[in-house]
Amino acid sequence: MLVASTARAADPVDPVDPVVDDERGPPPNPARGETYDGRPSRRPAGYWALTPPRILLAPFRFTFRLLEWPARWATEFEERHHIGQRLVDMSTWGEGTIGIRPLFTYSLAFVPSGGLRFFHDRLQGRGTAFSIWATTGGADIVHTELRGRPTRAGRPVQYTYAFAYDRRNDYLFAGIGNTTPVPAGTLGPSRYAADQLDFFNSLQLRLARPLWFSVGMQVGWRRFHDGRFYDGQPPITEVYCVRVGPDCVPGTVDEALVPGFNQGTQFVRPSASLFLDLRDDPVRSAVGLIVEVGADYSHGLGADRSRYFRVHGSAGVPIRLWSRAHVLLLHVSTELVAPLGSSAPVPFTELATLGGPNDLRGFRWQLFHGYSSFVATAEYRWPIWMWLDGVVFVDYGGVFGKRYEGFGAAQMQPDVGGGFRVRTRARFHLRVEVAYGFGESWRLYISTTDWP
């Protein structure tokens, strides 16, 4: 039994006369315009209150509706004519083992370049790798490279070889040592041109599952010329020239300031390195450790009397934060170049360099040249979309003298930045990063190639 008590206020019932007839009417008939529950149709409460915001939002709504027409046309045109499929078919054969892919790289303050990469992963047998690519940004910006691995992936012994030719006339040289901000009395950045030819081969041995030992041999050839005026920087002959009093001797570069510039360099370079990779995934690592240490010896050939050792090392630790996809990556790397005894100075391009997309990202590519370098990076990576990661980072590093002479905070530069990486499970497809170097300015990098 319903017990009377002090009741809370309930919604009032519409005051309508009680029903007295005994006959129920037929069910509502929506075909005649009646509602399904038989009650008069009514807008929901609050409907009209939404009218003002609807009016305010109407221009956006209208804009989207306008955009829908060209978007539909373009999407259906693409699908009807199978343009994407045709492009893939035109550029890929052999179940994806042979194909052509576009390449594009851009770094603010340098000439952008684009090109194509051809790969044929059956050419030397199933599971092998072969690729050749060429990019250009004009007649004086050319890079071609051929790379191959005739051994099958996964084998404990691997052999790789590479030929590369590179030509640019917008390389940056800003002196040797810490050059940002431009120290008083130094000359500042300039542009030079270079032609570079390299042959490299390497044998890698898997000592244990994560540990590889590698020996290699490189033969290199470099010739340098005056650069172009680009992005506000003059050609190198206007800055690092032979001076008579305050005036430049036209068309000259002072060998004392830019060692190896006038005669170039050619060398043979044996090398050895150890590589330990304990990461859980090469593309989306969340835990583990990666360490590489290596050394090479360069022996100048012909007129090039330079002889020097180079030692490099790097270590990276991905740290899983509150999920596998939120990762803090800590990374340090260092390089030391040590000329031998009374040999000629080390050619400037073979010194340790910093700046650009791989290390000090807030600074122009190869802005710093020195006999030693050190850079530390902290990078936070998180997923934005299934195929898109966001990154924010801080880099801190600099170049120093022989045997880390002058090593210290005074010689190091910080930068901060962030960006996006489009990736699949297997590799990166596009990287876009913006960085700000303190004492420098904003940098922008866009690349469709893998970035180590």
């Binding site: 009741a7 009417g25 069910p27 509502p28 009650r39 009514r42 929901p44 209150a49 109407a58 699908e79």
Partner: protein, 557 residues
């Protein structure tokens, strides 16, 4: 000096939306239901002219539209909170050309419906009749040209047309068994699906018609040759047979897909905008349950049955094969089911919070669970309970009807799923002819996901249902308890009738109501376990005659 301040437009809009939201939340006066019988059959099968065949959008545009333009239009149009239209006075969906409640007891009074279980045999057969079973030999007329699974279209010995779908070479049963079982579950819950059966094809019983064609990757018509068939069957032979799913060609004149947004203006029976149909909104709850992520419109189908001018349109969910852990004839990626291809809100949310807003597909545990699941039960793809969240579940692109679900729609959808017993589920699973451990796994996952759905949607709407007037008592079922969710938990109910100024609390499922002829409204609420407050009310409108006879005229949730 006079200073003027300009109110920025976004701020102004926020204020207006807030005002509107307050307006939406204002309690409204209970509206009376008329003293009429309850509508249980929507008259949408009236004789009508055959609508023209549709020029459906191409699939990529459809995806782009569903992912970008329709959500944007809805957002800028503030199209939120509208209740479904095709709902009768008892908050149920009447049978129609879209939906048929196969469990409702036709002998029950129209104001006090009852639902009967389906037998395991009925579940195993689903929509399939003896007559639907294909009879070899088969003559192939064309290749299967739509969708990812390989297959062909053939006529059987009687001339009846079938679509045959095959499994991926290395994943037997992934496509075929999934679609057979999922279509039975959809059928049991009320939606129209084709008659799908598993068959073991003897290659000797297949012949290719001389004029058989298929389409190449550029959609060009090319001959379907015996060599094409040989290549298709070669690596799929097991004991001299190939497992396939035979889907009987749907009867009638095929019109094309239906859209989840708007209505077909050429069909006078199509009176309710599709996004406002509860049977389509509720289909989203079913889709979440079985993880049917591919609710693109090309998986729907309208057909005109009957003579031209004397027939009507029937609406099908013609392909529910992207269920369990399958998408595009392959195991689905770990993000499917919890993310759509393009979710601007989630993307910007993640971007601007540096990933602080959690996304269910993050984390190595998801990868590991997927790998483990695929290793042990490859027939099911990645389909589990642990990574399922009913409220966060999403199809691969936004579905206009699912996106407009209200709590009442979700409750209705959840009811359909929760009403399926374990025996019924076993019956449907039997049709998939799985290994015993796979069948048990599928049952466990379906049960687990069913319970999660019940917990999610039986809390936002009070699950008091099955209301009946028994003499002077009002009795009901508590679906929370019926679903096995309230074990060891005390449920206390409150009944109130404002007009009589009464309120009572009780523990049973029946309450006596005093005699008082006229139009009456009783409110029922429930409080469970340690809950302090009673939940939202269910309002039962009934009429008591002078003779003492009572009948329910409406229920409000």
């Amino acid at each position: 000096m006079t200073s003027t301040r300009t109110i920025p437009i976004p701020s102004l809009m926020l204020v207006l939306v807030a005002v509107a939201a307050v307006g939406c939340g204002t309690p409204t006066a209970a509206r009376r239901f008329p003293d009429r019988h309850i509508l249980w059959r929507d008259p949408d099968d009236l004789a009508s002219a055959r609508p023209p065949d549709r020029r459906n959008p191409l699939i990529r545009w459809e995806g782009t539209q569903d992912a970008v333009f329709r959500p944007a239009d809805r957002f800028f149009g503030l199209d939120y909170g509208q209740e479904a239209v095709n709902v009768n006075a008892l908050d149920e969906v009447p049978d129609s050309t879209w939906f048929v409640d196969r469990r409702r007891d036709p002998t029950a009074p129209d104001d006090q419906p009852r639902w009967l279980p389906l037998t395991p045999e009925a579940m195993e057969w689903g929509p399939v009749t003896e007559d639907d079973l294909p009879v070899p030999p088969f003559t192939i007329e064309s290749g299967k040209t739509v969708g990812s699974a390989q297959g062909f279209v053939a006529r059987d010995a009687r001339g009846v047309k079938y679509l045959f779908k095959l499994d991926p070479i290395d994943l037997p049963q992934l496509v075929t068994s999934t679609e057979v079982v999922a279509s039975r579950l959809a059928w049991a819950c009320g939606w129209n699906v084709p008659s799908n059966t598993l068959v073991d094809l003897d290659p000797a019983a297949l012949r290719v018609a001389p004029d058989a064609t298929t389409r190449d990757r550029y959609d060009r018509k090319v001959p379907f040759r015996a060599a094409t068939l040989d290549e298709m069957l070669r690596d799929r032979l097991r004991d001299g047979h190939v497992r396939a799913m035979a889907s009987r060609w749907i009867d009638g004149h095929i019109l094309g897909w239906f859209s989840y947004l708007g209505r077909d203006e050429h069909d006078p029976n199509d009176r309710v905008r599709h996004e406002d149909r509860r049977d389509l909104r509720g289909f989203g709850v079913w889709a979440a349950w079985v993880n049917n992520v591919d609710t693109f419109e090309n998986n729907t189908l309208d057909t005109y049955v009957g003579r031209p001018g004397a027939g009507h349109v029937v609406h099908y969910q013609q392909d529910v094969g992207a269920s369990f852990g399958v998408f595009a004839a392959a195991p689905n990626p770990e993000w499917m089911g919890s993310e759509s291809y393009f979710s601007p809100g989630r993307i910007f949310g993640s971007l601007f919070t540096f990933g602080a807003i959690p996304r269910p597909w993050y984390g190595r545990d998801v990868d590991a669970a997927r790998a483990r699941t695929l290793e042990r039960w490859p027939e099911l793809g990645f389909f589990d309970v642990a990574h399922f969240s009913p409220r966060k579940w999403q199809p691969v692109v936004e579905n206009a009807a699912f996106a407009r679900q209200t709590a009442r729609d979700r409750y209705w959808g959840a009811k359909r799923i929760v009403s399926l017993t374990d025996e019924e589920l076993r019956g449907a699973i039997r049709a998939g002819r799985y290994r015993p451990e796979v069948a048990e796994r599928l049952l466990a996952v379906l049960r687990g996901r069913r319970d999660k759905i019940a917990r999610a949607y039986f809390t936002e709407t009070t699950p008091i249902d099955g209301l009946r007037l028994d003499g002077d008592q009002l009795c009901f079922e508590d679906l929370w308890i019926a679903a096995g969710l309230g074990r060891g938990e005390r449920a206390e109910y409150e009944v109130r009738e404002e007009a009589l100024g009464g309120e009572a609390r009780f523990g049973g499922r029946c309450v006596r109501l005093p005699t008082e002829p006229g139009y009456r409204v009783v409110e029922l609420r429930v409080r469970r376990g340690a809950e302090v407050r009673f939940g939202r009310p269910v309002r039962v409108h009934f009429i008591e005659r002078a003779s003492g006879a009572r009948h329910i005229v409406g229920i409000e949730r």
